[in-house]
């Protein structure tokens, strides 16, 4: 006798241990197999794009902190680049270098969280997560020295950064740079060759090259699918054209490759920081910019390579003290569009790790 079965809908989230915030997935399951999912988001909507229309150009910077709250420095960076492009402001040399150092440190911190959370989703009960938080803590300490904040830094300004690095920053950064490669090797030893992890992640959730390009994915997700595209190389901004670094790619585009890709990118970030530390010149850290900036009528789009992919700010000015329109291109949201194709036919447990390997921040998706 054949048993009659039927698929059922499992509502995962918005409050679920591994949806990385308040994200909801309506998964249609056949037993343990995922037939279809429907992402539902908007639980963290704060209307940042609309709020931006009523703030001064400087007043928007704290709002950008709250987009992708685990890589605030990069959000500041992208926004300031957009305003500078709009108003034609030249940034002093030293400020450019400080921005690059901050952005790369932030990239390491954000990728540490991404990798740690991914391994946590795989079921390694908090051990890798807490190991990675240990190093993130040191980066956050550095940020606290420079900006006084530990999460929402509000450090960069239009035309530079809010204040010069304190005296104790550079020695502390050197100390950090000396030990970080050792810690990266430790992460490799921790789980990279683990049989269970390989069985769980190799060949799971494959995002093909074509799919990745068609869904306009960016960042580690795109590069893990063997597409060599990094905005720091392809469309250099700030002083990135002065540094020597590689764009690592992986061959298969599965969860394991995305995990490895992130670890590799941390190594490249360390290379960039090391060069920036050598080259950083003395001088002012902020251009002479009025408090209330009135950019000429026009529009500008600036994009950077943030830890999750291409983060873009599109600003339209009507020559007032606030932008007429501020649009944000969040990499998390766009990378997420490929999720449905990736999870179909896999199990619930795979759904979680594939979702974790995309690495989203809900603050950025909902804005």
């Amino acid at each position: 006798m054949a048993l009659r079965t039927e698929p059922f809908v499992l509502n995962m989230g918005p409050v679920h241990p591994s949806t990385h915030g308040v994200f909801r997935m309506r998964a249609t399951l056949d037993g343990e197999v995922v037939i279809d999912i429907e992402p539902v988001f908007g639980y963290l909507h704060r209307g940042i794009e609309k709020l931006a229309e009523q703030r001064t150009y400087t007043g928007i910077i704290p709002l950008t902190d709250r987009l992708d709250y685990i890589s605030s420095m990069n959000n500041n960076f992208a926004y300031c680049l957009a305003v500078e492009k709009l108003a034609g402001i030249k940034v002093p040399e030293r400020a450019e270098y400080i921005r690059v150092i901050m952005a790369e440190l932030q990239r390491i911190a954000a990728l540490l969280i991404a990798v740690g959370a991914f391994l946590n989703d795989c079921g390694a009960y908090f051990t890798p997560f807490l190991y990675m938080f240990r190093e993130r803590e040191r980066i956050v300490d550095l940020f606290e020295m420079a900006s006084g904040q530990r999460l929402t830094y509000n450090y960069m300004r239009v035309g530079g950064v809010s204040q010069d690095l304190p005296e104790e920053f550079m020695p502390a950064l050197r100390k950090f740079m000396a030990m970080m490669p050792r810690f990266l090797d430790e992460y490799d030893q921790l789980l990279m060759q683990n049989e269970i992890l390989i069985a769980r992640t190799k060949g799971v959730g494959i995002l093909s090259k074509e799919q990745a390009i068609n869904s306009s994915a960016s960042g580690p997700v795109l590069r893990a699918s063997s597409v060599k595209w990094d905005i720091r190389k392809a469309d250099p901004y700030s002083v990135y054209d002065r540094f020597e670094f590689d764009v690592p790619t992986q061959a298969n585009g599965d969860c394991y490759d995305r995990y490895r890709q992130r670890v590799e990118e941390m190594r490249q970030s360390l290379r960039i920081i090391r060069q920036a530390m050598e080259q950083i010149p003395p001088g002012p850290v902020k251009a002479d910019v009025p408090h209330l900036i009135r950019p000429p009528i026009g529009e500008a789009y600036a994009r950077i390579e943030c830890p999750k992919g291409e983060l873009g700010f599109y600003l339209v000015s009507d020559n007032s003290i606030a932008p007429y329109r501020c649009h944000i291109r969040p990499p998390s949201l766009i990378n997420l569009t490929a999720l449905r194709d990736m999870v179909r036919g896999w199990k619930v447990a795979d759904l979680i790790i594939i979702f974790g390997s995309i690495d989203i921040t809900v603050g950025e998706i909902d804005r």
Binding site: H16, P17, G123, A124, L130, A199, K347, I352
Partner: protein, 375 residues
Amino acid sequence: MATFDFDIYSLVGFQAVPPDWPGGFWWHWLFFTVVIISFVLAMVMGVIYIERRGMGRMQSRLGPNRTGPFGLLQPVADAVKVLLKEDIVPSAADKLVHWLAPVIAFAPVLVIFAVIPFENGALLADLNIGILYVVAISSVSTVGVFMAGWGSSNKYSLLGAMRNVAAVVSYEIPLVLAIVGVVLIAGSLSLNQIVVAQSIPFILLQPLGFLLFFAAGCAEINRSPFDLMEADSEIVAGFHTEYSGMKFAMFYLVEYAEAVAISAIITTLFLGGWKGPLLPPWLWFVVKVVLVFCAMVWTRTTLPRIRIDQLMAFAWKFLFPMALLNLFITALQVLAGWPTQLIWAMIMVNFAVMAIMVLIWSRFFFRLGWGRIEV
């Protein structure tokens, strides 16, 4: 087998409770019931503390250290906290099943300890089918878990409960086959007789059997890396998602009591039970149980979780053939009569076999993901 079995009791001057204890059946029964319940509760508190502190140290943090000296009262604080919580029953739940599930899950765990010897002859019932009884009774917990999953009318609970049933049904087989190796050498099913027969701990004669039993035992009681039934990152809390208050405390108790039970069985079967020099036998027993539990904590902090189809494949394609092979080798050795002067050579052979098998199998472990077995 009892080749160099010296009398420990004359050494320490400690007299174990003999099987023909004066006072008759009912006194014996009452005494050991009290001993077992207090032992299980005390051990559960101890292992919760050990797990929380040990995991803290392994995860580069401190662990609980605010309640009492060194955080020793943390299990008490946990228990009080959980007991003060409101007992919530979902409106769509099957009330009776929901209420009955924790009780049914808890009872068998206590009953297992009836046949586990704390000292020579110091056990509630020296059944001559002791180990068979353990295997049979320990499966009953699954009924409670499945009732919890079904009665909660929650999809996460149901998924967790289904996973549990699938795992237990599969892992019973390598578990039993690993036990058979020990039984062949000891020549008895009684746990007390098995301990008495261990002139050297059976882990030396049965290293592969020990690994199999440890893995299958971990799967049986939902310890990592087989903790799919309560995989917090996937199905929230599995079968006890809808439980709170006292009922949740029961499940929590079951989880750790099962861990203690499996540790006690491993101790009895493979580590020489209460045997050991100098210390009193019951203390040796406790020390060994705690050591086995520490190994479980270690695996929990180290390993990622495997997937449900990999769980099945691991049981049927890896543990099952290995258990058969182990049984075959053991049977041959027993048939050859265990030449006592060659016992160390036998130990070497067994360890070599284990090392080779584990190496070969771990090479192919990553293929588990390719099978795509539908469950």
